[in-house]
Amino acid sequence: MLLWLIPVFPLAGFAINGLFGRRFPKAAVNAIAIGSVLLSFLWVLKTLAAAAPLNAAVTERYFTWIQSGSLSIGCDMTVDRLTAVMLLVVTGIGSLIHIYSIGYMAHEGGYYRFFAYMNLFMFFMLTLVLAANYLLLFVGWEGVGLCSYLLIGFYFDKKFATDAGNKAFIVNRIGDFGFSLGAFLIFKQFGSLDIAVMSAHAAGAPTGMLTAIGLLLLLGACGKSAQIPLYVWLPDAMAGPTPVSALIHAATMVTAGVYMTARSWPIYVHAPDAMQMIAIIGTATAFFAATIGLAQNDIKKVFAYSTVSQLGYMFVGVGVGAFSAGIYHLMTHAFFKALLFLGSGSVIHALSGEQDMRHMGGLRGKIPWTFWVMMCAAVAIAGVPPFAGFWSKDAILLAAYAHAPWMYWAGTFTAGLTAFYVFRAIFMTFFGEYRGHHHPHESPAVMMAPLVVLAALSLAGGVLFKVPDYLSAFFPAREAPEDMSLMAISTAAGLIGIALAYLMYVAKPALADSFAASVKGLYWLVYNKYFVDEVYDAVVVNPVVEGSRAVLWKGIDAGLIDGTVNGTGARARDIGSFLRLWQSGNIRSYATWVLFGGVLLIVAMGLAGGAR
Amino acid sequence: MDASTAFYVISLIKILVVFAVLMTTLAYLQWIERKVIAHIQVRPGPYFVGPHGLLQPLADVVKLITKEDLLPPYVNKPIYLAAPFIAVSMALLSISVIPFGPKIDVFGYQTYMQLTDLNIGVLFILAVSSVGVYGVALAGWSSNNKYALLGALRSSAQMISYELPLSLAIAAPLLISNTLSLRQLVVTQGGAPGHPGTFWNWNLFHGWQWISFIIFLIAAFAETNRVPFDLAEAENELVAGFHTEYSSMKFASFFMAEYANMITVSCMAVLLFLGGWVAPWPAKYGSGLVPVAVFALSGLIALYHGLHPARRMDRFSLPVVGVVFLIVAAVFLAPFTQSWLLPLFWFCAKVGLILFAFIWVRGTLPRFRYDQLMVFTWKFLFPIAVMNLLVTGLVVALV
């Protein structure tokens, strides 16, 4: 089926643009970058059409990558229904965002570099999705991390951008560490890293082992998908260009953790403790991130915390055993969050780089297209029926109720918060009086076209693509009874959130400030993001840095290692200065010594009986 | 006579015959060269010693032998004496593996028209010719004369440089024939057994092997230090090059070596590219009559000129020549000579053709400048030879 072509198209695009893009005109860079992603998308469609209905996984082995003892790892790619969903999301959304980037990046420097990195990201993301074993998955996993780092730090002349890139990379290291250990344990337990082998034998493995594997993989997923306690990098990652935020930090890469845990479902269903942990982390992340989102003024920061919160939802879905609901939410979230980011990008573009919502307002009439598509995304994320977010969020919440009612209530409350902060952002941006001093202008058609497509998907995607039905045979069935009253409650929470936002930011704008003043302490805490970064600095970062400086550098490196090396050198010099008396500088005397040694050698060999 | 005795006797006879013929050929090649160049330059050439100067080589030999053998006092004597010996013996040594014809019957004993058949014959010739450089180099150095030294350096550098394209050009037909034995080489060009082929089977016409042939010829001119590559003895720069100080028989040795080398490379060209002693087309289509026709025609022309003499002497000499030629033509018709004389005729005819090309070029082309010479081989001939060999190897491997 030539699965390898899917990731190789973007790789070729990367190679061409990365090597020669500097000399190409923009049109050529565009054609190569977008053409390669579109080709990849079309190839995905063709492959899936050929493989339909895809009841069983199709695996292709290209070559044996590592062969050592009992360890045999192939470069294998597999496609099944889960992969199919992910492939469509990644290549489809990826294509749209690439097209959008033509307009957004038109006036930026390093144009070819941006598209080369984007293509490289597509390559690694598709490798991650297609991988049939954990090692290849890890390659994609690390690769997308690398591209994330490169693209966050795309404006490398700005210090906060490079710092944010470093932060993302380093925080992800912690998660990757957990992932690696998990993979080692998988190999130890199953004797193979193949996902198929793992799935086949997971039922017979000891629960303790599975729990350990599950928790370690969860650590990896937390890093990649920005969950508590490793979520801190994602809000900072907004330093990158907005299409990057949309593609990598909303639609695709950050969902890799969800995808990975869903892909490892055989482990989790036999390790209920690990699953419970996922659900708790998801719930907590969803709630806390949503509360932080309430008080942010940077439009991209709001959506960043929203992303963290929504990822929490997906974890809840996976954690309560509703894997298909999690993937469902992953897909719808990709639609409306990509749209939110791209829309906010359009706003920022319209205001020539302004990101602070306090300097916006009243843009509804000035950039109407952007307003309407943003509205589509907002109603979708707020869970207004029958739009995309409603279906997937509802599936998760129903499953959560079946698992543990308090999670449902936490989720529902979070849904209300979500609706509130999203509409707060919408209202602050588009309603009221214009508070800025730029002259807003509508974005070009090349940016608007993808937005319109995404808007349509946000509105109708939930109904059109019934992922839980498609995946029902793939994951173990976890029947959650349809419960109209629960659906009504969660929907109502969303509507209440919207209404409160309207009240505070459109109807009576003064109410927001007075409310904030009334709960001053709480607001201050939330506004400063619970001081998590500061706490991490104090508890983790500074001790490590200081410890490295004092003990590792000054003590061990400079004292012990350098001392040993220098001491060895000094002793060698001492011995050499004695031995150099022998060195007459006369080649023939050297040769004589060589001959002498040869004679000794022959004598020794003769005595040992070696000359036969 | 048992087999081994017969082997020794026959080998001895062959050596004697080949040596005698070769020596005569060397002497007369010189005469032919002078004649041909003279006619190219529209002058008669040697004329007075014997009819049409036919005895001129004999006179030259007598002159060279009887001349005083000068030994300059400042030379390095042993090496000075050894150098011409090395040159001429190496030149003659390579003749020993050249096959002149197929297997023949001599009084009931089967033998090859060849002194010895090595299955690395081609390598042997390369090896011997590479040793031949020493004759030149040592002669130049030991003469203790700056002209000689410069000539020696030049010609040995030239010979080493041109040996590369030469070897590469040789390798291409070897790849096609898949043998290193000179005899096998001819056999593979002769068509399938029982179905004698035409000249189209020769390596020369095998694909683009004419390129190899041309490279071979150019390199061969340089290897033998012939015009247009005779820088070693560029009279107007270096007096007489490496043999400036040599006289008498030692000088003659170098001369012999040069002509023997010419014959060797001509034989190589014929064996590698022109099908050796194989007739250009099968005997059943009348190739056996070609020598008869050639000799008979020449004899008749000579007779005609004898009847209408331009000078007094022609009245006797030309009819004699004509009759001899007619007799030779008759010999070619005799059935018992066909098996060995015809191949020999074709071999000699082809070698003669190449030798004529040597002389022709000498009569027409000017000399290269030294830097042009080196640039030509390293930057032009060598890359082409490499490419040619690579492509040939590829094609041979694929087909």
């Binding site: 060195q583 007459s584 500088g585 006369n586 080649i587 023939r588 040769a591 004589t592 001959l595 | -």
Partner: protein, 102 residues
């Protein structure tokens, strides 16, 4: 037909090698010293080919072949070095070339 004992070849090889060593040790002209090295290499080649005969294995001959190739490369570089040394120091005496000392 009488046969040559194999050890004769090897002893010949040893003697040639020893002569090469002697040349290396006792000659002062750098070119002659270099030629002594070539002599040693040739001696070793003879052993290789004798061993190839003994084991009826062409590998020994290939070793000799590689030695030859390496010797050719070595000669090219070595002689270039000798030329450079002579250009800079106007001497071929190996005892005079001792700038590595001190």
């Amino acid at each position: 037909m009488q046969q040559v004992p194999q050890s004769w070849f090897l002893v010949l090889s040893a003697l040639l090698f020893a002569l090469g060593v002697a040349g290396f040790l006792f000659r002062r002209n750098i070119v002659t010293v270099f030629m002594s090295i070539e002599l040693m290499l040739n001696a070793v080649n003879l052993s290789f080919i004798t061993f190839a005969y003994q084991h009826k294995d062409v590998g020994g001959q290939l070793s000799a072949f590689f030695v030859m190739v390496v010797a050719a490369a070595e000669a090219a570089v070595g002689l270039a070095i000798i030329l450079t040394v002579f250009k800079n120091r106007e001497t071929l005496n190996i005892d005079d070339i001792s700038s590595m000392k001190n």
